[in-house]
């Protein structure tokens, strides 16, 4: 009980400090809130072609339609998928997504074996695919196709995440005892900046299961 009270108090303080929505990973921590490096979600799933995997990194969440057109990738922020294919919890391959502001292109490096693992990275390997970032006003997504059938998309998309976050916060705060039915999706009508990469499973290694996570890294 004491622990619970402590948690509620801590959560309330956090809610007051951020004063806004915190969810899947949208503005999950003070250092990344409001930054181009703020990851909202990652998805990894089998592609329409079952020989391929799709990796999705969403950043800069909670964009209203009115603010989406002005949202942009940042060329000093690297988006990096990490793939552990031997279950030692250390990345064996990285797929890096690097934006260039002057050409408005998103380039994909890898999958490549990183020269060093961990929190500090440099670009590895060669550009395997690249694509023009699809502008907000363009209805047909631009799709880049590169080496070995790698595909890439970058640009604004509907945020695929759904959650009655506000009711959850009330439950945690002790002001509600249950969810509503139906609930209300706190992410309805909002956009994110998506980077979507489709790669053949055969170049990711492993023996049936991969461990995958995504990182954003800022130029130093």
């Amino acid at each position: 009980m004491k622990q619970k009270k402590f948690f509620i108090a801590a959560f309330a303080v956090a809610a007051i400090i951020t004063g806004s929505i915190i969810a899947a990973d949208h503005i999950d921590a003070p250092a990344v809130t409001g930054q181009t490096s703020d990851i909202t979600d990652m998805y990894v799933f089998r592609a329409a072609d079952p020989n391929n995997l799709v990796l999705v990194a969403n950043t800069q969440g909670l964009l209203s339609p009115g603010s989406t057109g002005a949202a942009s990738f940042e060329e000093n922020t690297l988006i990096e998928f990490n793939i552990d294919n031997n279950n030692d919890k250390v990345e064996d391959l990285v797929i890096q997504c690097k934006y260039d502001a002057s050409s408005k292109m998103m380039s994909i490096y890898g999958p490549a074996t990183p020269s060093a693992t961990g929190t500090k990275s440099k670009l590895e390997g060669i550009v395997s695919a690249k694509v023009k970032v699809t502008p907000y006003t363009k209805t047909t997504p631009d799709i880049g196709t590169g080496l070995g059938g790698i595909k890439v998309f970058a640009g604004p998309r509907d945020d695929p995440f759904f959650f009655d976050l506000n009711r959850y916060k009330m439950i945690i705060a002790g002001t509600a005892g249950s969810f509503n039915n139906p609930g209300m999706d706190a992410f309805a009508g909002t956009n994110v900046l998506s980077t979507v990469v489709e790669v053949p499973k055969s170049i990711l290694g492993g023996t049936g299961t991969l461990n995958i996570w995504v990182e954003t890294k800022s130029k130093i």
Binding site: M1, Q3, K4, V13, I17, I22, A24, D25, D28, A29, P30, A31, V32, I39, V44, F45, A47, V54, V56, A57, T68, T77, D84, D88, K89, V90, G118, T119, K122, L123, P156, R157, D158, P160, F161, F162, F163, D164, Y168, I171, G177, S178, F179, N181, G183, M184, D185, F187, S194, V196, T209, L210, N211, I212, W213, V214, T216, S218, K219, I220
Partner: protein, 174 residues
């Protein structure tokens, strides 16, 4: 021995007028990037870490996460659900939080990819997966997944836009 050979190497380099460029590791033209955010499974940092740990969690490599965060996750789990014994996966509090503290997504390269589809568990994450309900069931639903029924679904079961059947799969922006 290593120190000696490094010193010797340094002397050789310093003494050589022919070597004009730095060693590869020190090349000033290489741009480095330092980690700011990290994500594996949905809502983990948000739910399990206190404010003071959220930034640290985002820059801790997965191989170090278990040692750094598992015990804190277990305390948070038992604070959220003091009646927790095991969950629908049969995991007690220590085992469940050991899985969660190492924050990456397990992805099958041979079968169905889903957070949970009634049969397959944690083999990926599709756009349509109701990950919040899965997590609520595992947190609050008890061994059968049926306990605390008021807390095991947020009753938002799908996205507000239909996904695409083909690349890039995500729906167009609002």
């Amino acid at each position: 021995m290593k120190t000696i050979s490094i010193k010797l190497f340094a002397v050789i380099i310093a003494g050589s007028l022919l070597i004009t460029s730095c060693k590869k590791d020190n090349n000033p033209n290489v741009v480095y990037y330092e980690q700011e955010d990290q994500f594996g499974r949905p809502a983990i940092n948000t739910v399990f870490n206190d404010a003071a740990d959220k930034d640290a969690f985002n820059v801790t490599t997965p191989s170090a996460m278990g040692a750094a965060f598992q015990s804190k996750f277990q305390a948070k789990l038992l604070a959220l659900n003091p009646g927790y014994t095991t969950n629908a996966l049969g995991l007690d509090a220590a085992t469940f939080t050991t899985v969660l503290a190492t924050d990456f997504l397990n992805v099958s390269t041979t079968g169905v990819t889903t957070f949970f589809d009634g049969t397959n568990v944690l083999t990926g994450r599709t756009l349509a997966d109701d990950v919040i309900d899965v997590e609520l069931i595992l947190l609050f639903g008890g061994p059968a997944g049926t306990s605390n029924a008021a807390l095991t679904s947020d009753h938002v079961d799908a996205n507000d836009k239909a996904f695409l059947a083909a690349f890039p799969y995500l729906a167009s922006p609002w």
